[in-house]
Amino acid sequence: MRWNYLAPVISIVASLAVVGVMLAVMGINPLEAYIVMFSRSFASKFGLAELCVKTTPLILTGLAVAIPLRAGLWNIGAEGQLYMGAFAASVVALYINLPEFLVIPLMMAAGAIFGMGWAAIPAFLKAKFDLNEIISTLLLNYVAIYWVEYMVYGPMRGKEVYNFPYTDLFPDAATLPRFFGTRLHLGFLIAILIAIAIYHILKRTDFGFAVRVVGANPRAADYAGISRQKIIFYSMLLGGMLAGIAGMIEVSGIQLRLRPAISTGYGYAGIPVALLASGNPLLVILSASLFGFLYVGGSALQTTYSVPVAIVYVFQALIVLFIIGGQSLRRGD
């Protein structure tokens, strides 16, 4: 029993120690480096805002992975769904004339629908043909990313961008409000609210019950008369929808335009986020902020010590490996 509490502590300490040795080898005082990482993320208004900015898409992609995972499905495609959501939202922002108060809601709806639609392809293939979803979602990521690239180099290229592959800046009505003079935007709040809503949906609705049963015990689902196909289909759709919203929020809150590389791998990072949170939507908020911290703190390491970005990759990989290793050890007992 005591092991349950010791394991996470040991895994964190161990990862800090290993990375500390690496830093020390490079001539950097590890303790000082850790202080830099923390203080840059927590101790200033901007640091904290940036932490939230990075956490926002991770909450949504984390949920996008977590919900299907509850039904026993792997959604490796949040990255592509995010791109499709961003694409749809950008089309609304740039090409559709609407009363101002309608722009943001409609962008969000468009992002949600396109994210959902992109997830519907693997969901359908899984439900109908039992096609492995890890593979189909992964493949569709590339199609989505190249699609956005094609659009911004071609049809959607802006008029005021000196022919660079960007769309024009969105009109003000299409950008999410920001707060405190930082980049902290409304999307952060939206993401948190969505996570809470999903928590209640999974916990209290028939759909949520069905998802949990299908994921935990497919046979029991059959006995209970729950259609597995349907649940698989809808849980994937719900995941895609959230990833699509993440894309919308990223272009509307941060990028303010569409461009080829809008995500720094948020869709993939959603996988460890979801797993760390054991698929619990409220815990996703916490694990997403842990990853947000790894991004912001890692970047602070770079700006402070000019360590190669490569070190930051190793650092992130080791921490996640230690954490899941620790989790596994615990589970094994």
Binding site: I12, F38, S41, F42, G154, F164, T264, V309, Q327
Partner: protein, 377 residues
Amino acid sequence: MKAKFLVLIILAVLAAGLLAGCAGEEGKQVTTPATTPEEKKEIKAAFVYVSPIGDAGWTYMHDQGRQFIEKKYGIKTAYTENVAEGGDDERVIREYAEQGYDVIFTTSFGFMDATITVAKDFPDTIFEHCSGYKTAENVGTYFGRMYQARYLTGIVAGAMTKTNKIGYVAAHPIPEVIRGINAFALGVKKVNPEAKVYVVWTGTWYDPAKEKEAAISLLDEGCDVIAQHQDSPAAQQAAEERGAYSIGYHSDMSKFAPNAHLTAAVWNWSVIYSYIIEQVMQGTWKSEEIWWGIDRGVVGIAPFNDAVPEDVRKMVEEEKEKYLSGEVAEQYPFVGPIYDQQGNLVKAEGEVMTDEELLSMNFFVDNVVGEIPAASE
């Protein structure tokens, strides 16, 4: 159980964060005292790169410039590489500003908006943005007129081709790349009106295997000189292996293709970095739009291969001399008559293209074979 586990982690992180936060605040007071005049001389420069230094091309060359000024002026420099445009750039630039760096170089077009935004909040910090067009009181821009060197290398290619087909392996259709292709093609045309420049887009800045394959495709179609706008020298190797010629880019790539490599259009960022750092050190810095050419040495051409005959060298030297003596405009060779691929007259005889037209160039001149993805109107 897992829930508890995670909560534990988060609590640990938060607690450590708060502790560190306090420590950090104290630390800050120590490190940022009121700047006294003596201290102001010790300047610190930060560089924000779009790709890893290991790309062997764009960022690598900027980093060479950084190392140069670090040595020459003994100043402290810092860098962050692989910074995502539009997403992470603003945070990184702001962190450098907060850390009290005196001058911050942002070396990609996509960093433009973030540079301007942060600059508003730090009026005492100097920002220098590479390749953009937005300036402010404390934001200058800098770039090199690479097309001048491209033009000169085009003359070499045009003179050396026997098949009258010259291949050009290019990354993405953005103005900088298109401008380089056109200048190169105008150089080709100057000495060899029959020759055409065949462009293949790879869709990637650094994927050496693909760049090489794209070059091979061009060689297979009968091209006998290969030029490139890519980071790695892979296209040079392809020419070397096939016994063709090649024109390098970024740096002297002759090491990779000793027989094929005729010359290269090269960057030397240390010229601009030295200039800016000196201005900052002397306190005479003001916001400028620096767009220097071959006369200042920001761009240049690598030493010729032995295979380049004397008359070709002479021709290139003569054209180069026109820039040095000021006989031609900086925008040369973008001086009319210039025709596009459809044969339309873009610039009439004697008319000079403006810098803005150069910066947003989006058409191919008439001796280029290839396509630019069209924006919808």
